[in-house]
């Protein structure tokens, strides 16, 4: 069973505009939510996180929103830059240490 879904495999955005990446989950036991970014031939790198007691967390150009009732997580990047082009994974943990990842969204920021 797929507990985490990133329904958009790819997203193309113009430089300077907002990028919105989305993630849906089914497991109500998840209590901490993260976004990772991955460049080709590198491992995922941590971007931003949010706990289940919050609905928004901001770090510079990156903002994560959590809608627990809808079991929906999103990442906003504004303004988008060409260096943001990468694969973005949402990831979740609930009561343990292991992360459950989504399938990823390839973001391309065009000049």
């Amino acid at each position: 069973d797929q507990q985490v879904k990133q329904n958009s495999p790819s997203l193309s955005v113009q430089e300077g505009r907002i990028s919105i990446l989305n993630c849906d989950y089914t497991n109500s036991m998840f209590d901490y939510f993260l976004w990772y970014k991955k460049y080709p031939a590198e491992g995922p790198t941590f971007l931003i996180s949010i706990s289940s007691i919050k609905d928004k967390n901001e770090d510079g150009r990156f903002t994560v929103f959590l809608n627990k009732s809808a079991k929906h997580l999103s990442l906003h990047i504004v303004p988008s830059q060409p260096g943001d082009s990468a694969v973005y994974f949402c990831a979740f943990t609930g009561g343990g240490n292991k992360l459950t990842f989504g399938t990823g969204t390839q973001l391309k920021v065009e000049l």
Partner: protein
């Protein structure tokens, strides 16, 4: 300081061969994780160590997969009698401690295993 390193970066194995993948975590990191990432998918959990103790191996797909971390630092993931479905990128991650620090895991570059 140095990040998580993995070796080899690429491995080609003939079906039926045994392989060993190495992970050097960040110094001082208590927790170590192995994930498997198939093409076009997100990483999937394999196993977790806290120091030398393997606390969770629920993600290992079969008894052909074995992981160890005997001295609580370097870890080795061994796959016996490799099959084509084992072809994937194997990612190692470490984190500082079993508490809040585990929520931020630092990943190595991965080992891409191709079984022919």
């Amino acid at each position: 300081g140095a990040g998580v390193s993995q070796s080899p970066r690429y491995k080609v194995a003939k079906r039926g061969q045994d392989v060993a993948l190495r992970c050097d975590p960040i110094s001082g990191h208590v927790s170590l994780f192995w994930y498997q990432q198939a093409l076009g998918q997100g990483p999937e959990f394999l196993t977790y160590f806290q120091n030398e103790a393997q606390l969770d191996k629920s993600g290992l797909p079969s008894d052909r997969f074995f992981a160890e971390r005997p001295e609580g630092s370097v870890s080795t993931l061994k796959i016996q009698r490799t099959q084509q479905e084992d072809s994937a990128v194997y990612l190692c991650a470490s984190s500082l401690d079993p508490g809040q620090g585990s929520l931020r895991q630092y990943f190595g570059p991965g080992t891409r295993l191709t079984v022919t």
